[in-house]
Symmetry: D2
Subunit: 364 residues, 4 copies
Amino acid sequence: MGNSFGKLFEVSSWGESHGGGIGVVVDGCPPLLPLCENDIQPFLDRRRPGQSKITTPREEADKIEILSGVYEGKTLGTPIAMLVRNKDARPQAYDEMKTKFRPSHADYTYQMKFGIRNHEGGGRSSARETISRVAAGAIAQKILSFEGINISTYVERIHNIEMPAKSGFPTLQEVEASPTRCPDPNTAEKMEKRILEAKKAGDSVGGSIICRTTGLPVGWGAPVFDRMEADLAKAALSIPATKAFEIGSGFKGTFLKGSEHNDSFEIRDGITRTKTNNSGGVQGGITNGEELYFRVAFKPTATVLKVQNTVNDEGKETELMGRGRHDPCVLPRAVPIVEAMAALVLLNHRMIHNAQCKSFFFED
Amino acid sequence: MGNSFGKLFEVSSWGESHGGGIGVVVDGCPPLLPLCENDIQPFLDRRRPGQSKITTPREEADKIEILSGVYEGKTLGTPIAMLVRNKDARPQAYDEMKTKFRPSHADYTYQMKFGIRNHEGGGRSSARETISRVAAGAIAQKILSFEGINISTYVERIHNIEMPAKSGFPTLQEVEASPTRCPDPNTAEKMEKRILEAKKAGDSVGGSIICRTTGLPVGWGAPVFDRMEADLAKAALSIPATKAFEIGSGFKGTFLKGSEHNDSFEIRDGITRTKTNNSGGVQGGITNGEELYFRVAFKPTATVLKVQNTVNDEGKETELMGRGRHDPCVLPRAVPIVEAMAALVLLNHRMIHNAQCKSFFFED
Amino acid sequence: MGNSFGKLFEVSSWGESHGGGIGVVVDGCPPLLPLCENDIQPFLDRRRPGQSKITTPREEADKIEILSGVYEGKTLGTPIAMLVRNKDARPQAYDEMKTKFRPSHADYTYQMKFGIRNHEGGGRSSARETISRVAAGAIAQKILSFEGINISTYVERIHNIEMPAKSGFPTLQEVEASPTRCPDPNTAEKMEKRILEAKKAGDSVGGSIICRTTGLPVGWGAPVFDRMEADLAKAALSIPATKAFEIGSGFKGTFLKGSEHNDSFEIRDGITRTKTNNSGGVQGGITNGEELYFRVAFKPTATVLKVQNTVNDEGKETELMGRGRHDPCVLPRAVPIVEAMAALVLLNHRMIHNAQCKSFFFED
Amino acid sequence: MGNSFGKLFEVSSWGESHGGGIGVVVDGCPPLLPLCENDIQPFLDRRRPGQSKITTPREEADKIEILSGVYEGKTLGTPIAMLVRNKDARPQAYDEMKTKFRPSHADYTYQMKFGIRNHEGGGRSSARETISRVAAGAIAQKILSFEGINISTYVERIHNIEMPAKSGFPTLQEVEASPTRCPDPNTAEKMEKRILEAKKAGDSVGGSIICRTTGLPVGWGAPVFDRMEADLAKAALSIPATKAFEIGSGFKGTFLKGSEHNDSFEIRDGITRTKTNNSGGVQGGITNGEELYFRVAFKPTATVLKVQNTVNDEGKETELMGRGRHDPCVLPRAVPIVEAMAALVLLNHRMIHNAQCKSFFFED
């Protein structure tokens, strides 16, 4: 339960870290979209393990195969199934974890909920599951790009190293310039050093990612439960290792007075705009045409190469020495995941808005 | 669209600030639950306007009427419809807002999305809509209480006045002792003063609310998209004026190393427990039996009694003097709303967990 | 559970026969639709009891009140709540049924499922529930009429009295000319006589209703599970007292050979059309632009004024004398219900089709 | 859109006749169910082409592969992905159909809806899609069998050859004794002959299938929209080539009077039972513990090996000679499909009933 996402652009995800593979079914994709594996692979390459010295050494090419829904290079409007086979699985590395629960992982809760778990590489709770999201998100991003929508997602902070506020809108090239996916070169260098320090110490670090979107029209989103920021918050907090979400001014904005925080309207280039953007591009749950931006906090990776106190599946206290290949910091690889989830939310709201508000004309 | 919430305990909300009333339909409620208006009214009384000198003076008794789904004092298992009529509506107070968009409100986005809006009191975008949530949440809370689950929700911070970390679990009486709904008397006094200062200055303040739950079993929640924290984040960010959500250690936890942040397991009173609780009671999207806690940030009220720059519906710049009755700080009244949304999420996950995992026995 | 219908034009129904009333919430209605009570009342008048001598004598004006979602005569795009109060309730007439289960009613199954039931007038299982459907359907029908879509629904057969096949498309006036809602005057007269005979004998009769729709574009519907005919079948069989559903040639078509049954294509007036219409306007689950037609079978009313063998809630055999006001034949009043359900299905598919297929243009 | 089925036991289907394969994702399966390919393959073998001389000669082993959701022979409670690769595809056999629309197929409507279609073997509209249903249904049937529920599905009528009413409950062996899947040997022989005659003439025949279930408890199903029979009707009419659905007495019952049609209650073996079963095991949308039975009508196969009038994709009239391998009668292979859909509906209602009604105890 809970492995599907989206009301109209519906994504169903499946797979375990060391099982037959990871896959996804996308239902509701508009027909006639030009699409092939090459549209999706670059997104997965940004997420895949082994891409740099600051990520896990697990070697997975994460080669995507489109199994259905595309014909002669265009989408059919019927479900698009995609599959990535697992290759570099080393289940024996996880033998100790068969009986011992790793602290701050999902081992204990999965075992208690289901009465069974695949402990190899975390099974379904592994972040390999996010391949599904990135593959589906890649399609959503391609569709959104046809409408002039740009998303820029990057690492803002690692541990306590934060990049200075940036007025520009970083390009993909600027983000990709560093393996940290921080577009500020000075900060990126410090971040990389901090991550390598943590790695060397067998420890890990967290931080925060910002996702920014321009080119959005006014009117996407909904009142009440399915507000744009509510759906983005759910999307963000569904990503492994996330702890917090902020839209616009977030926690900082709560230290302002209303008179300081409000975004006055003005006319700019003939269009109604706000002078400031504490709202983060959303008012009353609906986009207002300004830049939409939100932040997501990621905890330090739970796997650390140290001895930790824990409990085994017989209810006895014991110790566990962290093993297995892992990332000392998940944020660089989480950037395309956050972006994918944002794209899925945006596209769904675009389709819903169109269905309800853009296609009816009531003239007597 | 977007006015329903919950997969199994399904809540459908309707109504505008100055229309025929506010109502809600709850489908999926278990049968045989003892239920009458008196079970719900106290929850609405905590939310209603005019309850103290720090809330809006709008006078609404918010008297609830149960229209269906209850027979001889017990739920039938069929939809429970509830209705609150609007009484103290003063639509003329909003005449200026018919053409001018209030900054950081939903006026502009609703108008642009729908091509029409009810400007009186904010129409559908008014926080009066949350009556529906509190009424539905009251039922959910009654059900959860039968299972030994306690929720304590309170104001932790107003503007920059924050209560000291509290080890105890505040009772309802402690929370209700101050109109601020901060259970620490010293802090509550300062908060009240700060709110009244803001009110006097025609300004407003924000802050943060914490929601804590004890008595949860291990195993509620789901992998991947419908993680417990993802659904709580959506629930929280769907409340008007919210800007951020944190589960467990939240943003602060991202400044720790993995070795500092991890929650070691131990055996306590014969039960597997964690020594610390940075996870906030959820691991891998599933409750681990520890206290579940999360924070929600609320911005300062957008209505301020000052002249603000804005734009009208003809695309001309203009000024708007804030009018209408409003709260200088929404947090005291938001406490029962946050609690209601948490209860709706928890109950849905309880029902889903039961449906999938607790009722099948496969023995050959 | 199960009291909501529709993916985008979402209808949530509530209420019992003798409770506070019957109501419905419609979410997803497009904004700017001109709408008032007068648009809906005529549909309810066709459904209401006491409308003629062949229907139940229960006197209910079934006066509709719109509580939300409409402002200055137009829909807001937010939920439309509607309410009909129960007036002529005589709960004491049902005292015997408090303990005895009426044969072929829902008394026994509701009691066993929920452990409780409101026995007065059937409670939630009463056909009064269909007020919600007709009210919501009236809105859907108004929207569809703006797009040139016409629905004609009428009684084809009562007991074994069947009208001759009709080539024309009966108008509302022709259907309403007889209280039987059979547009063939000769047949209608015989039907009326048959119904009155049954009534006099304390008995009841059933029959079948046909629903026909013209003006549909090609392309509404979906492959696989949400085929147009699948959704219509569900809609039809969700109506109380229904036993069967046929699309197009139905059961009769299964006695033909493929070469006889196939609908050849031809060009007519420059448009691709089928020569015959055994498909009933749907091919592969998607409308083909031909007339869409389906049949629904209704059983004879379960309430008969005769002594029947039954069982009471203590598991003892007993007898029950039918009482309560009821219809000797439900079909005349079921006509607007079938029509409403068809309109809900069609509008949902129209919105879904638009969301996925009609609003994207992928040009490089 | 429309490729998912089920609220709690959620099935997502994908694939085309001649694409990379056919697959399905099942989310919501209870954990700890013993499961392997051998549990599913026999169901697919009953559906696969080439199984006898009265089915299509297309040779497909339809070998199932479980890709996820099972660990050490038991279900994990997370999504089960299953895949069948297409082998014996002969796309060139369909070249003529690239431009010409086959009468009474989905070619024209798919092309018009999506602006594109995979014409090879019907693409997504091919009945190969039903592999997904049968594979998912096999899991549902295994779960239901643990609860003592038996389903017997068989061919009752081919063209005008109908088996005599049978009082017994045919076993799987009796059904499988004839390639027609009619458990009455005399009728089966005549049916087989009729099918071969049609095949020889390049023609096709239809008929009806009955599905019967015993061992159901009282209480599955729901009031109003999600009645058991409504969900079964949708499930049935979502199967390719279906034209009608009947629950219980169906169309025939509408020729009876109420006093003849009602199912009186009695006490049998200490249990409340009905004397007759015109209701078909469902009253008020909820199972009453009697045998649940329904009928589904299938039209004669649309592919016939004759010259037919049609239209091409340039809007010109033309002729088409039926080609491609096909079944002269779909019913024998449709039996496991009907059974699978029934199992999916039943299991979903079982899970929903449990979630709402079976797991709460409200005692003060």
